[in-house]
């Protein structure tokens, strides 16, 4: 009898917190409940943990966002979203009038255009992921392997119409490993290759797309980040965590003058 309780305790202890956190399935929960009711060691242990929880909830202040923070954020969002509005809409005189006619036309067919835009974007993202996968599976990760931008950048000259900014970001934790020519939508495009610990980040460089929205998409477990910078559109793909890719975008843009 005595031995039974000891055996049980050994099984109960590792599950005790999960039990109190409501993480156990019903069957297991019932077993623990029975054990706690009868055990002179585990019962008090559970009670002590519950006291701690009550103590935390009573003593911890309830933090709420200050009133003005909410309105500040709304204001900042509006400004951020407004930056994307066509300049013509903000202009005065006949230009605004012309724009309003244009607007009517656009609104009429807007739905189709928007959907088309999304689908095109998806198609590029999807091809970028395919190319990313190919680069990982084969031996063809780089055509030119170097962390030196003075080696990588000139390599693309004459091979592609686009001249990507190949900056090394080792200091920020994203070393440049090289570049290669890849295919997106049937056209050869420069791809810059970076590493994030054991993960590879491929950055495909295309002509800038018309909308200048930043996008982060997740498809098939891969994250694709898209942004435009001047005449160039960047499509970064990785199997690292999405947050890593957004960090990458931030440091890459900071380093390339965006």
């Amino acid at each position: 009898m005595e031995k039974d309780v000891v055996m049980q305790c050994e099984a109960v202890r590792p599950r005790l917190e999960a039990y109190l956190d409501g993480e156990l399935a019903e069957a297991e929960r019932a077993l623990l409940r029975d054990h706690l009711a009868g055990c002179g060691d585990c019962g008090p242990e559970a009670a002590a943990l519950e006291r701690l929880r009550d103590g935390i909830r009573q003593s911890a202040p309830i933090y709420r966002a200050p009133e003005n923070l909410r309105s500040q954020i709304r204001f900042a969002l509006r400004r951020e979203a407004g930056a994307g509005a066509p300049a013509a809409l903000r202009a005065a005189g006949w230009l605004a009038y012309a724009a309003s006619i244009l607007l009517a036309v656009v609104v009429g067919s807007g739905g189709t255009f928007l959907m088309l835009g999304d689908r095109q974007e998806d198609a590029i993202a999807s091809q970028a992921i395919d190319s990313h996968l190919r680069s990982l599976l084969g031996t063809h990760l780089t055509d030119v392997a170097s962390s030196d931008q003075h080696t990588v950048k000139p390599w693309f000259a004459g091979r592609s119409e686009l001249s990507p900014p190949a900056v090394d970001l080792s200091a920020e934790g994203f070393p440049l490993v090289g570049g290669r020519l890849d295919l997106i939508a049937g056209k050869p495009v420069p791809a810059l290759v970076y590493k994030r610990r054991e993960h590879v980040i491929n950055v495909f460089v295309l002509p800038a797309s018309k909308d200048d929205l930043d996008k982060t998409l997740t498809r098939r477990g891969y994250t694709v980040c898209h942004w435009d910078e001047g005449d160039l559109g960047f499509w970064a793909v990785t199997d690292a965590a999405p947050s890593e890719l957004t960090d990458f975008e931030r440091v890459f843009r900071a380093a390339t003058g965006g």
């Binding site: 917190e17 999960a18 956190d21 409501g22 993480e23 002590a48 943990l49 006291r51 701690l52 929880r53 103590g55 935390i56 909830r57 009573q58 003593s59 911890a60 202040p61 309830i62 933090y63 709420r64 966002a65 200050p66 923070l69 909410r70 500040q72 954020i73 709304r74 900042a76 969002l77 509006r78 951020e80 979203a81 994307g84 509005a85 066509p86 809409l89 656009v106 609104v107 807007g110 255009f113 928007l114 610990r197 018309k210 909308d211 200048d212 929205l213 930043d214 996008k215 982060t216 998409l217 997740t218 994250t223 965590a241 999405p242 947050s243 957004t246 960090d247």
Partner: protein
Amino acid sequence: MAWIAERRRRARFESVVLPHLDAGYALARWLTRNDADAADVAQEACLRAFRYFDSYREGDAKSWLLKIVRRTCYDWIERNRPADLVPLETETDPEGGVHAPLASGIDTDALLQSRSDLRRLDKLIEALPPPLREAIVLRELHELDYRQIAEVTGVPIGTVMSRLHRARSALRRAWDGKGCGDAM
């Protein structure tokens, strides 16, 4: 036409994500331990969230925002108070994250015991190393389940469980040790 989509996007963001601003601010407050910094971080996180709103899929908007708030907090701390980011002394964290590459670890117990000024549980929580602090705050105060905590903090569920256990053990020892268990 892009701006029409943009306006729709903003309206949707305000109705889906902004309701969780209090939760986001509270997490930022626990991690930065300061009102003004928490407000700055919460605002920056919301703008970040808006920029990456397309990556949000239907579902748990609160966890999604908390994840971005957390990330923004660590970026902010890394920039402004890198000394706060001391790694745990023993933890093999497959994700690495901000704690992995730093030098030697700290002993959580020693940290709490050495602070004789800490008599209150909320102050003890503030003194916990960030990985333990965020786990206990997300569980006990935000009332997230293990899966959500794993999602927000980017570690496996097993790591969440061991961090919660370590946080609770350290809090209990420090709390009981100072004989203020009944005073709360």
